[in-house]
């Protein structure tokens, strides 16, 4: 089983000190998750109850305005909604009713809370319950919050999935163990993973979130939980409360992370070692070969992460161990030591970790270090480029399929591209 990854005990950065920063953050709020979630769950609609700012954030994060009628919208709170909550609630009912009439294809409607809706204490959970009753059984209505007061960027996905956990059916009492992969993944990645699980003999595998809202996987004491994304703290907690057992694993980013991730599942399901190696080793080998080209270019280069998606620690682990890059600073909005245990163990000892943000101080550190590559958000990328620093936008790491063996080289290429580009340009 351990032919591919040897678990490292008491090594890496498990107990490393973390620079805790509290200052200006430069990161999206959880509403942003709607941009990928609405494409993932194809019969769900996301109605943000918020301000013009929230609507404009979504529009700007979605980038080009390509959809005829996207499955998200904002109920923009206006002056008169602030006058009284009773009115705000009846306004919300009116907006929801109109929306559901207009969009008969919707099966699941999320009311998504925002900072303004929280500050005026508009109870969207209650509203969801109330409205669910009027529209049952055709449309289910659930609520979660993507407010910037509570969530950064990817935590919106966590809040959304957490809102669905109570709806998941219970597994049969005598159901054999099954595997639940949690976190929104590109379809192509899900399919690859499903094939590999089948090959190593794990038959009962479900993915969460599902592509259709009425296809929620069951959960119960037989469920083995394998997180595909590192930002799902609340979802995991609720699933564990329903009896699921979380498997400790690195995240399936890069060859080593993917092998370790499959390995954790294999151990939990008692997969025969030879069978595991027969399936995994050739995939890992192919991925390593594909990576090699990028490693040549990236080895020895220094890398700086601004906090953004919570993917920073697994990405840093990948960059350091598989691409040979030097980690200057690994910033993350939130460091979940429990879920990241296997990752932290693999990080090179002495890696500088920072949690939270003070963007101006962090920019000072970045400028002082002059890293060869900086991973940061869209607000910082061009200004840093203009100062002569190569950057990679972190959001691309979320919108591009990067998980799994077949995508490991793509992930490496995302790091390599800015450097390749610089070496080509003679202007």
């Amino acid at each position: 089983m351990n032919a591919v990854v040897a678990p490292v005990a008491n090594a890496g950065c498990v107990d490393a000190p973390v620079l805790y920063e509290r200052g200006q953050r430069e990161v999206f709020c959880g509403l942003t998750g709607i941009v990928w979630l609405h494409r993932k769950i194809q019969d769900a609609f996301f109605l943000v109850v918020g301000s013009r700012t929230c609507a404009h954030l979504l529009q700007s994060a979605a980038g080009v305005m390509i959809f005829a009628e996207p499955r998200f919208a904002t109920a923009v709170i206006e002056e008169r909604d602030l006058a009284g909550l009773a009115d705000a609630n009846s306004e919300l009912d009116r907006v929801v009713t109109r929306l559901i009439e207009r969009r008969p294809d919707i099966r699941l409607l999320f009311l998504v809370g925002s900072c303004p809706s929280e500050v005026i204490k508009l109870d969207l959970d209650r509203a969801a319950t109330r409205l669910s009753q009027s529209f049952a059984p055709r449309v289910r209505i659930r609520a979660w919050s993507g407010s910037g007061l509570d969530t950064t960027f990817t935590q919106g996905e966590d809040a959304c999935l957490a809102a669905l956990v109570p709806d998941m059916p219970a597994t049969e009492a005598d159901a054999p163990p099954s595997l639940l992969v949690v976190g929104a993944l590109a379809e192509v990645v899900e399919d690859q993973m499903a094939r590999l699980f089948a090959e190593i003999g794990i038959e009962r595998v479900r993915f969460f979130p599902p592509r259709r809202s009425d296809d929620l996987p069951p959960v119960g004491p037989g469920t083995r939980l394998l997180l595909a994304q590192p930002f799902l703290a609340e979802t995991a907690r609720l699933l564990e409360k329903r009896g699921a057992t979380r498997l400790t694993a690195p995240f399936p980013l890069g060859v080593e992370g993917t092998a370790g991730w499959f390995g954790a599942a294999a151990r939990a399901f008692g997969v025969d070692e030879a069978r595991f190696d027969a399936a995994i080793a050739p995939r890992a080998e192919r991925a390593r070969t594909a990576l090699a080209r990028h490693r040549e270019r990236l080895a020895g280069k220094s890398l700086f992460f601004f906090p953004d998606s919570q993917l920073e620690v697994p990405l840093a682990r990948f960059a350091a161990r598989e691409l040979g890059m030097r980690l200057v600073e690994v910033g993350t909005p939130y460091l979940h030591r429990g879920h990241l245990a296997a990752e932290l163990a693999l990080l090179p000892p002495g890696t500088m970790l920072s949690e939270g943000q003070n963007v101006d101080n962090q920019l000072d550190r970045c400028r002082a270090a002059q890293p060869d590559l900086t991973v940061c958000g869209l607000g910082l990328a061009n200004p840093l480029e203009a100062e002569g620093l190569a950057t990679k936008w972190s959001i691309e790491l979320l919108f591009t399929p990067v998980h799994g063996f077949e995508q490991a080289a793509d992930l490496a290429e995302l790091f390599a591209r800015p450097l390749v580009r610089r070496s080509r340009l003679k202007v």
Partner: protein, 560 residues
């Protein structure tokens, strides 16, 4: 609550950011949660700014709400002042902070900073981006130029006999639609007139520049949406008159030159005498004949919509079939313009209303924002973007002003190219008619909706078909060769026109076999239109079967 999918305008604090980012030596401390920092990317990604906007966000979180967000705001102001050492500071709240009522102005004043501090009250639940920009600019101008105001009632000192007239250029901001190039163009125009530019603001101005706005003789207001309010105050305070005409288009540029000359007391004749714009000749050249009477729908901010309609009608010979704006503050001006073209003004910030109006007007060209570009694409109508909200494409590398003589050239190309592109696509389609190619492929630039144009749509696409067209269509059967040379006259008419797809036909329509056959003798590039016109004709008369006679009746009807 207003159900909103896409918005034309950002919240008002983004308007304030556009002012702060345009200027030098100004910093803006914004009481706002972390997600609101997304606004930075508007500048760094869309405008490709090489610097971060000069904005510090407090990024308060839920836990701060329980303790002290006011203290956090004060700390942010202090730190921002120490780090950035601005010459003037803007302070304000975004939508969320407005609700917690921390009074940023009062808190900042309490810090007793040695620089002017301008508190901004931008009601986020009532107002929007342009209003926020105008209000911010006005507040800045008042605060910084106010101390230099002459005593009320005093007369402006007359200009010395040897002094060149001086003006300020007001309105250009960061993230403005071609503001950078407009300033360059208008500055050149003013120089040719012999007018010196005292200050351009806010774009590129420092607080010290704002302080000396009063030194100019008059103001040139490029974008009333941003600068009208400040210009009014400058008029009241310094007796500076300001221009009313926005020089977008050949005619408006002429009017502008005359207006500036009158304000400056100089002779416009030498500058007017030249013919520095190619657009008028291009419009008169025979090549442009096919543009005659093209139905055009115009939507945008008030300034660009009004200017676009005037150019379309007077300088290209189009027919304006719709005119609207999302700038409610300037609705009156748009209503007046719409009356001139005999169309119902459309004042809305709901893009679905705009989409419905476009579909109903059956235009052959849409002049709009990025939003209308997508609408037009869905409807299969060519479109040119003439107004904010901006997109990365609205910041071209090349020089592309909208204003002045060069602006008129740019706009000629901008309005005409989408139609030309349609033309080229149709020429390509002509060869696709050869049996090796499949004929239903849609012109690539028109998106999927275009394929509906020639789809065998007998009863499937019966809804509102294009309104009366000056081009006689059905039955005119020129030879291929003739068609090739006459393509300019007719081919773009084949650009498929929208149908409000959902509406069901009251009478099921059928084409008789011989009528269908006759239809296929019509050149492909007008066939779609012929089909739709005929079907509409038949529907209007409650016919259920289209015969050869119906086809020619319709042709006669529409060619009147």
């Amino acid at each position: 609550m207003q159900l909103t999918v896409w918005t034309y305008e950002a919240p008002p604090h983004v308007g304030a950011m556009r002012i702060a980012t345009a200027m030098e030596g100004v910093h803006y401390v914004l009481h706002a949660p972390q997600g609101d920092t997304y606004a930075d990317l508007l500048f760094t990604m869309i405008e490709r700014a090489t610097k971060r906007p000069p904005v510090t966000y407090t990024t308060f979180q839920a836990r701060d709400l329980g303790s002290d967000t006011a203290e956090l705001f004060k700390t942010s102001v202090k730190e921002a002042y120490e780090r950035f050492r601005p010459q003037a500071l803007l302070v304000g709240a975004s939508c969320t902070a407005e609700l917690i009522q921390d009074d940023p102005g009062g808190l900042a004043r309490a810090l007793d900073l040695p620089i002017p501090v301008v508190p901004l009250e931008l009601p986020a639940y009532q107002r929007k981006e342009n209003w926020g920009a105008a209000e911010t600019f006005y507040r800045l101008v008042r605060t910084l130029a106010g101390p230099h105001a002459p005593p009320p009632g005093s007369k402006r000192p007359a200009r010395g006999p040897d002094d060149a007239p001086r003006c300020n250029i007001l309105g250009p901001t960061a993230l403005g639609f071609r503001h950078r190039d407009d300033v360059h163009e208008v500055t050149g125009l003013l120089h040719r007139l012999g007018v010196t530019v005292n200050v351009v603001a806010p774009l590129g101005a420092t607080p010290a520049d704002i302080a000396r706005l009063g030194e100019a003789d008059f103001n040139v207001v490029l974008y009333p949406e941003i600068a009208y309010q400040a210009a009014q105050w400058l008029d009241r305070t310094f007796g500076q008159k300001s221009t009313k005409v926005v020089p977008i288009g050949v005619g408006a540029t002429r009017d502008f030159i005359a207006e500036v000359a009158a304000l400056a007391g100089i002779d416009p004749a030498p500058v007017l005498a030249g013919a520095p714009s190619r657009a008028p000749w291009y419009a008169r050249s025979v090549d442009s004949t096919y543009l005659t009477g093209k139905r055009v729908f115009v939507f945008g901010d008030a300034t660009h919509a009004i200017a676009g309609a005037r150019i379309a009608a007077d300088e290209l010979g189009f027919e304006v079939v719709g005119l609207g704006t999302y700038s409610r503050e300037f609705a009156r001006d748009v209503r007046a313009a719409a009356a001139k073209y005999g169309v119902e003004p459309l004042i809305t910030d709901d893009y679905l209303d705009v989409e419905a109006a476009i579909a109903a007007a059956h235009p052959e060209l849409v002049l709009g924002t990025q939003m209308e570009r997508h609408t037009a694409k869905r409807l299969g109508v060519p479109c040119a973007v003439i107004s904010a909200p901006v997109h990365v494409q609205d910041f071209p590398a090349r020089y592309a002003p909208q204003m002045g003589h060069e602006g008129a050239n740019v706009l000629f190309d901008t309005f005409v190219h989408p139609l030309m592109m349609g033309l080229e696509e149709h020429l390509l389609t002509m060869f696709r008619e050869d049996f090796e190619f499949h004929a239903d492929a849609a012109p690539s630039h028109l998106g999927v909706a275009a394929s509906r144009g020639e789809a065998p749509s007998v009863a499937a696409d019966p809804a509102p078909v294009p309104a009366v067209s000056p081009t006689p269509v059905p039955g005119s059967v020129p030879s291929m060769a003739a068609a090739a040379s006459a393509e300019a006259a007719v081919a773009t008419d084949a650009a498929p026109i929208p149908s409000a797809a959902a509406a069901a036909s009251p009478v099921p329509l059928r084409w008789a076999a011989d009528a269908e056959k006759e239809l296929h003798k019509i050149p492909f590039f007008v066939r779609g239109k012929a089909r739709r016109n005929t079907e509409r004709f038949a529907q209007d008369r409650g016919l259920s079967l289209i015969t050869i006679e119906t086809l020619y009746d319709a042709k006669a009807h529409f060619s009147r």
